[in-house]
């Protein structure tokens, strides 16, 4: 059974006349890593908010269809309940950290759930360790770099033991090295702890190879879903105007994908492919 199921989802914000999402269908298996991309304003952020029930529970608006996460129909459960199944990481870490120390930040979720104190403490320890930031516990979010802040945000969500993490352009405001470090953390969580990932990202060259599947949203519709290599090598993806990774462009320009039947996403896989093929 899929862990996330979106069924003919359409959504219009209150006061708006144009729907932001139109008939979106997607199911995600447990443990999958989904890369969601698409041009600005295509509805990615809105879709993220639908996944943890902020839409429609807090936003109102016209909501049609169904979103089921970990067995919960989002319209039938309050956000705080869904939060224990889906964690949502935002674009700007500055606005998602509101406590004065990292430890309190991570404790905030489990405290809200009124878990026994020992359990809260245990979850704080575990989450900090999972993200590799135990050494930052006494810092104030103000003192941290953007990458560290984003890791704190991730740890703060993990403390509620969600099976699914949804990340809305978590690296947009980070420098490349911090971005890479955050992405590696996500990959590790997915591979080692089996957390289902739904990652919104523009910088496809950095993430395409991490994902099991790639989905492209365009003007509120899910237009392409499939293996990253199938999606990124398709002519439709090129036409929509997402930033196709250079390796894909080189491979396509030379027709290597057609000749070998392989679709590399990284420089090293293309180089390996050429090496093997040459001999």
């Amino acid at each position: 059974m899929p862990i996330v199921e979106i069924r003919s989802l359409s959504y219009t914000y209150p006061g708006s006349t144009k729907p932001t999402l139109t008939n979106v269908n997607l199911s995600v298996e447990e443990g999958e890593f989904i890369l969601l991309t698409g041009p600005s304003g295509c509805g990615k952020t809105t879709l993220c908010r639908c996944l943890n029930g902020l839409i429609p529970n807090s936003y109102g608006g016209e909501f049609n269809g169904q979103v089921i996460v970990d067995g919960l129909v989002t319209t039938e459960h309050p956000v705080y309940e869904i939060a224990q199944h889906v964690g949502l990481v935002f674009q700007n870490p500055e606005n998602e950290l509101f406590c004065t120390s990292v430890e309190r930040e991570v404790a905030f979720g489990p405290e809200n759930l009124a878990l026994p104190r020992e359990e809260v403490r245990k979850r704080v320890e575990e989450s900090l360790a999972m993200v590799g930031i135990s050494h930052l516990r006494d810092k104030s979010p103000e003192e941290l770099s953007g990458g560290e802040q984003q890791k704190v945000a991730i740890a703060a969500l993990l403390a509620m033991k969600p099976k699914i993490l949804v990340l809305d352009e978590p690296t947009a405001n980070l420098d490349p090295a911090s971005a890479q470090s955050v992405l590696n953390t996500l990959l590790k969580l997915n591979e080692e702890s089996g957390v289902t990932m739904i990652l919104v990202e523009h910088r496809l060259e950095m993430v395409a190879h991490m994902a099991h599947r790639c989905a492209i949203l365009n003007e509120g519709r899910l237009v392409l879903v499939g293996k990253p290599e199938d999606v990124l090598y398709s002519d439709e993806a090129e036409a929509i105007g997402i930033g196709i990774p250079k390796v894909v462009q080189v491979t396509k320009a030379l027709g290597i994908n057609k000749m070998t039947g392989k679709c590399p996403l990284t420089s090293w896989s293309l180089a390996d492919l050429l090496r093997v093929w040459k001999n």
């Binding site: 698409g38 770099s145 490349p176 105007g241 250079k246 290597i256």
Partner: protein
């Protein structure tokens, strides 16, 4: 330090001479910066957060005055010139449009700088019209800026600075949160400004963007300029990128993985090199 530029005998538009600045005693935000940028150049400033990029560009329009050394912009020493005077020559577009948009309408937003610089009235309306059309904002003319979409706000921020036709344009992280199409637009805007012999300085994390569109790069690390020169030369230098904590562009990675000599940042060159490799197989 890697440098491939002559320092004397050219007429610089922006000149940094041994500039240092610190916000708190004992820790320099930028240190011993020597730099010269000519009229009509397009330059990228790269480096991780905290490398000193923002401090550096704030010296160009005088928001910060050097604590030691000096900065000359369009022949003016920034120490003796007000921000308002320098701003007339230097247009600085900040990363987040929400940090500057305030007017009741898009039109008034564009008028703000023009009024501050005392442009005559007919000139103001001419320039506002131009900016509205140039940045595709004509239909939003009477709308409040904060009701525009993110992409539109970013364009308005650009329009509200470029409307007064500054000689030097500085863009701080212009590609943040921008999709591929928007980046292409930005690249063509930079090209256009360049063709009008404007000087464009782009502060960016987006090394792919710099590699694709900007001929000269300045790489900063820990408050110092550690390299300054031809983008291709710098962005294919593995040790240099490592020491500045920069992730190489994917084409450069590919060049290295294919052991191309010399490595390149140009798509066409990679394609023809790989083609040669493949022909080698057939032969």
């Amino acid at each position: 330090m890697v440098t491939s530029r002559p320092f004397e005998g050219v007429e610089e538009l922006i000149l940094f001479e041994d500039v240092s600045y610190s916000y708190s005693p004992g820790r320099y935000a930028i240190e011993h910066i020597n730099l010269s940028i000519d009229k009509g150049e397009v330059v990228a400033i790269l480096g991780e957060n905290g490398a000193g990029k923002t401090t550096l560009i704030k010296h160009i329009n005088g928001l910060l005055k050097p604590q030691s050394g000096f900065v000359i912009v369009s022949g003016m020493n920034t120490k003796d010139t007000t921000v308002a005077t320098l701003a007339r020559h230097v247009g600085l577009v900040f990363q987040n449009p929400d940090h500057q948009l305030f007017a009741e309408t898009v039109e008034k937003e564009i008028m703000f700088a023009l009024t501050n610089f005392n442009f005559p009235e007919d000139e103001i309306s001419r320039r506002v019209d131009w900016a509205l059309k140039e940045f595709g904002l004509l239909e939003y003319k009477d709308r409040p800026p904060f009701l525009l979409s993110g992409g539109e706000r970013k364009r308005l921020a650009l329009a509200s600075v470029l409307c007064y036709d500054p000689q030097i344009v500085i863009l701080d992280e212009p590609t943040t949160g921008q999709d591929y199409r928007q980046k292409l637009h930005l690249a063509s805007l930079i090209k256009k400004l360049n063709s009008e012999s404007k000087t464009v300085v782009v502060v960016t994390h987006d090394i792919e963007f710099a590699a694709d569109f900007i001929p000269r790069s300045i790489i900063m690390s820990k408050g110092r300029v550690i390299a300054d020169g031809d983008s291709e030369e710098l962005l294919t230098n593995r040790e240099l990128l490592m020491s500045a904590s920069l992730i190489p562009p994917q084409l450069v990675e590919l060049s290295w993985d294919l052991a191309l000599n010399p490595p390149t940042i140009h798509f066409d060159e990679i394609v023809s090199s790989v083609k040669k490799l493949l022909e080698g197989k057939k032969a």
